[in-house]
Symmetry: C2
Subunit: 345 residues, 2 copies
């Protein structure tokens, strides 16, 4: 038995499956943000030409998947599995997209950690030679999430300073073992997270709820692999926002694994201009990290500008029902180590 | 590249990961049904001693997981991943259970196909040597599902003849590569399903909505592996109920792959006494196939009474929102081939 497990939670992927195509699409606000010029498509209409916000989110999801496959020079028939999820009840965005795509579907729910969950699972499935090519995708939409998790949009509720803005967008990544596909990045390791809950109950402060899970997974990965933050050119969290970002920095300092602020970024802080776009603590949603990864990070890995990075998306695993029943908000974080294809194993 | 893929959708698992522990728990009705004597625990109180139905469902989930681990002679610290899901929005049953268990959590959403989805993924993760031991679990609760998907219980709505009864129960299975663990059954192949939708819109007729997906996956598995229904001692579907059972038989006949009714059973038709327990078309819910597998099928594989079987759970991937917006109900089915441990590879 030659187990690929390293330490308690981290798994090595000796075959280093490659991300060979990616795409990111967003809405008007995302198009006007700092990453706007890097998006494959921007929908200026919040309904994306559809009859409902839910159908609009499906449009975003499908567009990201189709473009990722096309940019890799492939067709849907070349893909064995779709691993995806979203924030809507019963992940209808992903399920109805899978209906149109016709690709065997592995439905995931990891809240905003979904893009990392899907990449980690895909990495293991390909490293085990159980598939040749799969596609990972995640989406969110401000209007579908707001009314499902918080208030009807028409209610125009006041947002608290710690609140984050759900990204309208989707990101997709094609992961392949086929040597004919051109790698943008390779997945060398994955670390699956535990559910951590320090008792935060404020549904308008997701960053604080998720930061302890982020610290838990990051420390596990570093401990398991005998590395420190300095061994990575970049450490990226999914959507902690300003509050969660600062908390994670504090938690890591306390564990004597301080993050260098020049080499640690949170997708929720780069996808919008917080001041100019009035998004309070930053961006959030499955789409936040999925879009940032596909639009801004994978191209830098492909060019060699980033040699090795940790992509760790975080999720808040509550529901309106659990909150109404007085439960606190459990967080989770899954991480993948991504390497520039030029970097030797 | 020695890909383990067989045909379009089926994957071989040469290491044949073993199910080495399982447990099934249920509510009062399940305890009074035909499988009652096989359950590890029956909760006569629909709240399982908890303050809410949601907490009761979590109690069921946790009880099944703890018992499956204990029956295998192991502890939670021996388990690398928990792969699980349930029907509640944001799969809160599984997520809050994972919080208590402390096992790294891979959250799934496959509606009532979850038990097969988790076994299939676990099979691939272990066959790829990415983990030594994982636990799969799925749960449902009549009272949490009814008020989330249909009507408040107090409304006492009339049930249509095609309606199914959501099982109150949970099943868990521990999957292992460790040769010290005693196998009850082995997972030799998996087949991941596509989303299939023939346009059924009646949320009280899930069996009809899911049967086409069941036929699609079953035909893919049989075609990919050059087998026929006669090559299996038993073919088991998850929760098609009487309507879906009959439809699947018809669809398979039309494809010249007729199912022998003595060797095809649906968990929704064995977990209750349809007439005496007044459950209309049969049982349903993630717990239906999870409980039946753990209580009734795995022991028969362990004893050699069943040599080789297909376990295929089916899910209806709609949400109340998608139904209210006029969408039809997409179905999905995932299958695993289970073999008696005495059977040679």
């Amino acid at each position: 038995m030659a187990l690929k497990r390293v330490g308690a939670q981290t798994v090595d992927l000796p075959l280093r499956p490659a991300i060979c195509g990616c795409a990111a699409v967003g809405g008007k606000m995302e198009g006007e943000g700092p990453l706007g010029g890097l998006l494959d498509q921007v929908f200026s209409d919040e309904r994306c030409g559809q009859a409902s916000f839910e159908l609009a989110e499906k449009r975003l999801f499908l567009e990201a998947v189709h473009r990722a496959i096309k940019k890799a020079g492939l067709q849907t028939g070349d893909i064995q599995f779709l691993l995806g999820g979203d924030l809507l009840n019963q992940i209808i965005t992903s399920a109805f997209s899978a209906r149109e795509l016709g690709i065997p579907f592995i439905g995931l729910y990891g809240a905003c950690s979904t893009m990392a969950e899907s990449l980690a699972l895909s990495g293991m499935l390909l490293d085990g030679e159980h598939a040749l090519r799969v596609v990972c995708a995640a989406s969110s939409h401000f209007c579908t999430a707001e009314r499902q998790y918080r208030f009807p949009l028409e209610f125009a509720s006041q947002r608290s300073p710690t609140a984050q803005w759900t990204v309208t967008g989707a990101g997709a990544a094609l992961v392949s073992l086929d040597e004919r596909d051109t790698p943008l990045a390779r997945i060398s390791r994955v670390c699956m997270g535990r559910v951590v809950d320090l008792g935060v109950t404020d549904a308008n402060n997701m960053g604080a709820a998720m930061a302890p899970a982020a610290a838990d997974t990051l420390l596990s990965l570093l401990t398991d692999t005998h590395t420190t933050p300095d061994d990575y050119d970049l450490i990226v969290t999914g959507d902690l926002g300003q509050v969660g970002h600062d908390l994670l920095c504090q938690l890591m300092r306390e564990q004597r694994m301080a993050l260098d602020e020049k080499r640690y970024v949170d997708c929720g802080l780069v996808i919008y201009d917080r001041e100019a776009q009035d998004v309070h603590a930053g961006g959030s949603g499955c789409g936040c990290s999925a879009v940032t990864l596909s639009a801004a990070l994978l191209p830098r890995l492909a060019s060699g500008d980033i040699g090795r990075m940790i992509f760790m998306a975080t999720g808040a695993l509550m529901s309106p029902t659990s909150s109404q029943q007085g439960e606190s908000i459990p967080g989770i974080a899954h991480a993948v180590v991504l390497e520039s294809p030029g970097r030797s194993a």
